[in-house]
């Protein structure tokens, strides 16, 4: 009876030690798991972030007229054939892949499964549109779209002089002796410009041709993937 009681206290001690060992095991597994769970390689992630920041920076190799997060569509097309390591020296010696909306732009190796950094950008492209309206004195012609610049080409019939071209009510071109030839004028990019022509005779269609140079943008996602 007394021996059974002695064993009971020893048994309790054994169970207690077992529980402590179990708790220790759980703690060690959790610690190990925390380190094993560092699946994002810090160096790759850092390089991907840096390259993505460079790609969309205002002074980056792809930026359009020094604007941040605006990429030049032409520069992006050229990136396919350009030397990526020359444009992004930090990518030299690493497997880096640049994609735009899932389409591979440039790569310096197989970066599948590497750390990724994404940026939302605007991609610009040039757009020109020609108009050949019939102008009458006192009527305004409003462009169908906004534009940055306008090429005005005048070839009036013999005996007719184009004296003034007004854009948005302001005089843009004027010559009392008669205007002829091609001129480039800047227009407001914030609303469609209106053009009025003053001439001392009738102007058939095609006497004044307008070519509007505008810019269209689309939203896209740039993704940089790096695997060391």
């Amino acid at each position: 009876m007394s021996r059974a009681r002695g064993q009971a206290s020893l048994l309790a001690l054994g169970v207690a030690l077992l529980l402590v060992t179990g708790a220790l095991g759980v703690a060690l597994t959790a610690t190990h798991g925390a380190f094993a769970g560092v699946d994002r390689d810090a160096a790759d992630a850092r390089l991907a972030d840096s390259l993505a920041a460079r790609a969309v920076a205002a002074d980056g190799p792809l930026s359009d007229r020094g604007r941040a997060n605006v990429l030049d569509g032409t520069a992006i097309r050229d990136l396919r054939t350009a030397d990526t390591a020359a444009l992004f020296p930090a990518a030299r010696g690493h497997a880096v892949q640049f994609t735009l909306d899932g389409e591979v732009l440039a790569s310096t190796g197989d970066a599948t499964g590497g750390a990724t950094s994404r940026r939302i950008v605007l991609v610009t492209s040039e757009k020109t549109r020609a108009y050949g309206p019939r102008f009458k004195n006192g009527t305004r012609f409003v462009l169908h779209e906004r534009a940055d610049a306008l090429d005005v080409t005048m070839a009036p019939p013999n005996g007719t002089r184009v004296t003034t071209v007004r854009i948005d009510g302001r005089i843009a071109l004027r010559d009392p002796q008669g205007l002829a030839g091609s001129y480039r004028v800047a227009v407001s990019p914030y609303r469609p410009a209106s053009v009025a022509v003053a001439a001392d005779g009738p102007l058939p269609a095609g006497s004044v041709v307008l070519v509007a140079h505008g810019e269209t943008t689309r939203t896209a996602t740039v993704e940089v993937r790096v695997r060391a």
Binding site: S2, G6, S9, L10, L13, L17, V20, T21, L24, L28, T31, H32, F35, V38, D41, A42, A43, A45, R46, L47, D49, S50, L51, A53, R54, A57, A58, D59, G60, P61, G66, A68, F88, P89, A90, A91, R92, G93, H94
Partner: protein
């Protein structure tokens, strides 16, 4: 018989104390002999990677986005004093930042992603001094220097 019965609790307690002491000794030897140093090395290596990334980011972030006539930037950088209990160095050369530490498994290099107008990156940060990054130059070229502030 009576004296034997009197001894029983003493024997039982001594046995219990002995078992607990043996257990504690076993656990201590296991932990400090292998598990703790391995975890410390893991932590040091991970921290080293992070410090290198943070240092590279600090240098890249300090460079102004738009080139100006006269660029003068001075930014303090906050870095941990030790990795794995040892002081370390961050050295810049050839557009690369290198981490140098006496602890085994800690180190590496990070290539800096800088604008083309940056002509060079030089200097060293020792972890036991306050660190600053100094950028001086003009619109077409600038130099980046890692400096220590003498306290």
């Amino acid at each position: 018989m009576k004296m034997d019965r009197g001894l029983t609790p003493v024997v039982s307690k001594t046995l219990g104390i002995g078992i607990v002491l043996c257990y504690v000794a076993l656990v201590s030897v296991t932990l400090y002999g292998g598990v703790v140093p391995a975890t410390e090395a893991d932590a040091a290596a991970t921290l080293g990677d992070r410090v290198l990334a943070a240092g590279a980011l600090a240098v890249e972030d300090a460079i102004p986005n738009t080139p100006t006539e006269s660029t003068h930037v001075r930014k303090t950088v906050s870095l941990p004093a030790t990795i794995g209990g040892q002081p370390y160095e961050l050295r810049a050369s050839n557009r690369t930042l290198a981490l140098d530490s006496p602890v085994r498994g800690v180190g590496g290099t990070a290539s800096l992603s800088l604008p083309a107008r940056v002509s060079g990156v030089t200097g060293t940060w020792r972890s036991d001094r306050p660190a600053v990054v100094v950028i001086a130059g003009n619109a077409s070229a600038c130099r980046v220097e890692l400096r220590e502030v003498t306290a």
